[in-house]
């Protein structure tokens, strides 16, 4: 078997089982691509024309630029924020971290809408500036509006893994650097940053692929990305073949992005050589205020602003006598299905991540990289993929919770994969070898030594998936059991008809429930001395 080619490891039953499991997961992740190929081959000539048309190519270029800009922006925001909240004496660092991770819980169309309400040409900011003679603000619509919305609401994808990497990083290297007389900044740039590269790249990959797939923000900001064009094809003409041809372009871009990210990772392995210790935090001194202003500004725009808009609408509704009772059941449904999806997705990511880190080889690389292929696709494509396969090949599962959870797994596995992989990288294989040398079985070693060290990473991965599933819409709409109402469905159903006050109830509760895993994660972290 290719898994072990060139590796001096004997081919044992557990290794084969892990390989098969990983292959099965990767196979599931290929379903959307398979579906698209079926559609494209239905009329290859026409599809080829669509794919190579100037319209598609222009849009492709713009979309790729947006994805790259959003990924860079997210890294630029997240790395300092992660460092400030883990390594310095920033006041209320843990609270800031929780607040900084919450923008992820806000659906992108709501995020973009609140940006327009606030920063739009005649938005709130303009009405405050009107006494100064400002009649109109510069246009927020287009590339920069979409970039701002996507960056501000996806940077936690980078923040979470980078912070995890910072907390579990071996400090002895930094101490060595400082003992050699290097300053804090030099140490950060030369010692800390390189160690953060895998985590930051994994996060940036998620931001880039998310941007490729996003429809909410680009449609509100009126940016003609590929996914917007795909929706136009579906909505305008029901032309599934043309939509598939455009979607294939997204898959190709995803492959390029994923391969490129693989190169930036290099062959780096960062596991502590000594037991981890936690030295004191860096004193910010007079920089404290600048640091507070920095995290405060991000939290204000990416969290307080949208929550404020939601709260305003909610209070309007409460004043009109609306009741919150109606969102009890959708709330429970959302929480329950998101929890199941998070657990299933993390478990599915485990064998793939294990294979990628511990059994590197062609097979494991292909399996892991393939798992990302569908992540750049807009939700509607994944949803219709499973409508097609579900209704026609698994009618007994169609529109049931298991198939819905499966759809979530196919959509969001890459989120779990990045964090799980990163924590595998930080486990020193010597601890496992020690276990085996004591005559323990591989399973025993995995459960007693590997898994406990993985749990923080897996919890973070599960938290990410939970958040994303909470706000997922297309698959939830088309694949949930009939009558299965969720908060995302309610918020969408009400807001599309202009009933903002009641939509804001659902959206507020959605954000609040999404905050729970973030809070748990933050509380369970031990406070450094």
């Amino acid at each position: 078997m290719a898994v072990l080619r060139g590796r001096p490891v004997q081919l044992n039953a557990p290794a084969i089982a892990v390989g098969l499991l990983a292959a099965a997961v990767a196979g599931a992740m290929l379903l959307p691509a398979l579906y698209l190929l079926i559609r494209v081959f239905a009329d290859l000539g026409a599809s080829f024309d669509v794919m190579t048309g100037s319209r598609a190519l222009t849009s492709l270029r713009d979309t790729v630029m947006l994805a790259a800009a959003a990924a860079l922006g997210a890294v630029a925001i997240a790395v300092p924020a992660a460092w400030l909240t883990t390594r310095t004496d920033l006041p209320f660092a843990r609270t800031w971290f929780v607040l900084l991770s919450l923008p992820l819980a806000i659906p992108s169309y709501i995020a973009a809408m609140t940006l327009v309400i606030f920063l739009g040409p005649r938005g709130m900011l303009q009405s405050w500036l009107e006494p100064l003679g400002v009649d109109r603000l510069p246009d927020i619509y287009g590339f920069w509006g979409a970039w701002l919305a996507l960056t501000l609401f996806t940077f936690p994808y980078v923040l979470l893994p980078v912070r995890a990497a910072l907390s579990s990083m071996d400090r002895s290297l930094e101490e060595a650097s400082q003992s050699l007389g290097k300053s804090g900044i030099v140490t950060f740039v030369r010692v800390v940053l390189p160690q953060l590269r895998p985590a930051a790249a994994a996060g940036a990959l998620l931001v880039a692929l998310y941007t490729l797939s996003d429809f909410g923000a680009v449609s509100i900001m009126n940016f003609p990305s590929l996914s917007q064009q795909i929706y136009v094809q579906y909505r305008g003409t029901l032309d599934r073949d043309a939509a598939a041809a455009l979607a294939i372009l997204l898959v190709l871009v995803a492959v390029v992005v994923v391969v490129a990210e693989g190169f930036t990772r290099g062959r780096a392995r960062y596991h502590p050589v000594s037991a981890s210790r936690r030295p004191g935090r860096i004193r910010l001194g007079r920089w404290k205020w600048a640091a507070l202003a920095y995290v405060g500004a991000i939290v204000s725009i990416a969290l307080v602003l949208p929550l404020g808009v939601l709260a305003w609408y909610t209070s309007q509704g409460l004043a009109q006598g609306e009741s919150l009772q109606a969102i009890r059941e959708p709330g429970l449904n959302s929480a329950y299905v998101s929890l199941i999806a998070a657990i299933v997705t993390v478990l599915a990511a485990l064998p793939v991540a294990y294979l990628a880190v511990r059994r590197p080889g062609i097979f494991s690389v292909v399996v892991e990289r393939l798992s990302y292929s569908g992540y750049a696709l807009p939700g509607i494509v994944i949803a219709l993929t499973l409508v097609f396969f579900g209704a026609n090949y698994a009618p007994f599962l169609y529109q049931t919770i298991p198939l819905l959870v499966f759809a979530y797994m196919v959509s969001f596995l890459p989120q779990a994969l990045g964090a799980t992989r990163a924590s595998f990288l930080q486990i020193n294989p010597k601890t496992e070898e020690a276990g085996r040398s004591l005559g323990k079985s591989p399973l025993h070693v995995f459960f007693r030594i590997t898994l406990p060290q993985l749990l923080p990473g897996m919890t973070a991965a599960g938290g990410l998936v939970f958040l994303t599933v909470m706000k997922e819409l297309p698959a939830t709409l088309l694949l949930s059991p009939i009558g299965f109402d969720t908060l995302a469905i309610q918020a969408w159903d009400l807001s599309r008809e202009g009933f903002f006050t009641r939509a804001s109830f659902a959206a507020s509760v959605l954000v609040i429930i999404s905050a729970v895993p973030m809070l748990i994660m933050a509380i369970r972290e031990r406070t450094p001395a």
Partner: protein
């Protein structure tokens, strides 16, 4: 061991979740069993544009219809849920509704093919209904039900029927625009005096249906000129009607091309000080195109009678009255009064158009792309 309890918690949660999953799976199998068409032979070509006579049944049978039906509804639960509840109470027929976007549900039905669990499809515009009819997914609706609605608001081949009417209007900002100075035809908004003042939603289905109507009624060349003319006036683009009306009220733009009923929802939520009102085109101007929200029976339904009863019920006075009073749309059955502040359907004198012609959406998308309105 230090990690023991944590690991245990994790495993317990995992096992609980797995069992919840299993329970949910079993529970749902029971539900879906009722809707299973069971005869999925994968052959959609069996469907044809059969005339009503083939499937026509006496009203007596239909009144006794029972069991359950599955409805795919492009209309939001907020707008149609209450009247569906009343239908269930009155007839004893159980209705399972899947809510979604009109075109996405149509795409879903196409993907499901003959395995579709849907018995009835409700659409927000005539175009999607026409597309499903073209793919032979729809069954004929009996003539006595169709007869309740004027011929202009139903399919020529009996495959769908309108439920309520929705007029195109111009929403204008009450502080910035005097309605008396608005042009009598939508075609005149190409005048340079409207430069920078217009908002529209080119990716939105209702706008695209309007452009299809424009092409059908005024011809391809006029449609092209109009699109180019409006584009020359640098209109602002919005994703949908709601955000367009919102932008008009905030003064981001002065006028917006939208459907008529959004205004009334804003007035309900924001009160009379909401700074936008509707301007209706008269004298059959294409700007006042009357589209419909409509419904159809799926070819593969396993409960044709209950599906017919459902559609019949939606065209009875109670439901039509509901559409007029609760959703602010125009009832299509004569004799039902409009209770909100709009001109009556008769006074509007909307342009005469065969709504079946609105199904050429592909041509519209191509025109929108050629004129640069869509990227």
């Amino acid at each position: 061991m230090r990690f023991g309890p944590r690991l245990l918690t994790f495993l317990v949660v995992a096992i609980l979740a797995a069992s919840a999953l299993l329970i949910a799976a079993c529970g749902n199998d029971d539900d879906s069993g009722a809707d299973d068409p069971g005869t999925g032979n994968g052959d959609d070509t069996a469907a044809t544009d059969t005339p009503a006579d083939d499937t026509d049944v006496s009203e007596g049978d239909r009144a006794d219809a029972s069991g359950s039906i599955t409805v795919y509804s492009g209309r939001s639960e907020e707008l149609i849920g209450p009247i569906i509840d009343r239908f269930e109470e009155d007839t004893g027929i159980q209705v399972n509704v899947r809510y979604g976007d009109t075109p996405e549900l149509a795409a879903t039905i196409l993907e499901e093919g003959s395995n579709t669990p849907a018995d009835v499809y409700i659409a927000q515009d005539a175009g999607s209904l026409g597309l499903l009819a073209n793919e032979n997914m729809l069954a004929a609706i009996p003539g006595d039900i169709l007869g309740r609605v004027g011929t202009e608001y139903r399919a020529e081949n009996d495959t769908w029927v309108g439920l309520s009417g929705r007029a195109r209007v111009v929403a204008y900002n009450t502080e910035m625009v005097d309605p008396d100075e608005l042009p009598g035809s939508i075609l005149d908004f190409t005048d340079p005096e409207w430069e920078g003042r217009i908002g529209w939603a080119p990716t939105n289905a209702s706008f695209q249906s309007f452009v299809t109507g424009l092409r059908v009624v005024e011809g391809e060349d006029t449609a092209r000129e109009w699109l180019e003319g409006i584009r020359a006036n640098n209109p602002r683009e919005y994703p949908n009607n709601t955000s367009t009306v919102e932008a008009v009220a905030s003064g981001e733009v002065e006028v917006g091309f939208v459907n008529h009923y959004y205004l009334f929802r804003f007035l309900e939520e924001r009160g009379e000080e909401f700074e936008s009102r509707n301007y209706y085109f008269e004298d059959g101007d294409i700007g006042g195109l009357m589209n419909v929200a409509g419904t159809a029976i799926l070819q593969n339904t396993d409960n044709q009678l209950a599906a017919e009863r459902f559609i019949e019920y939606m065209l009875e006075e109670e439901a039509q009255d509901y559409f007029a009073t609760e959703t602010f749309e125009f009832p299509l059955v004569t004799g039902v009064e409009v209770s909100f502040d709009v001109p009556a359907l008769g006074d509007l004198d909307p342009v005469a158009i065969d709504l079946t012609d609105l199904e050429d959406l592909r041509g519209t998308i191509e025109l929108l792309q050629e004129t640069g309105v869509l990227p």
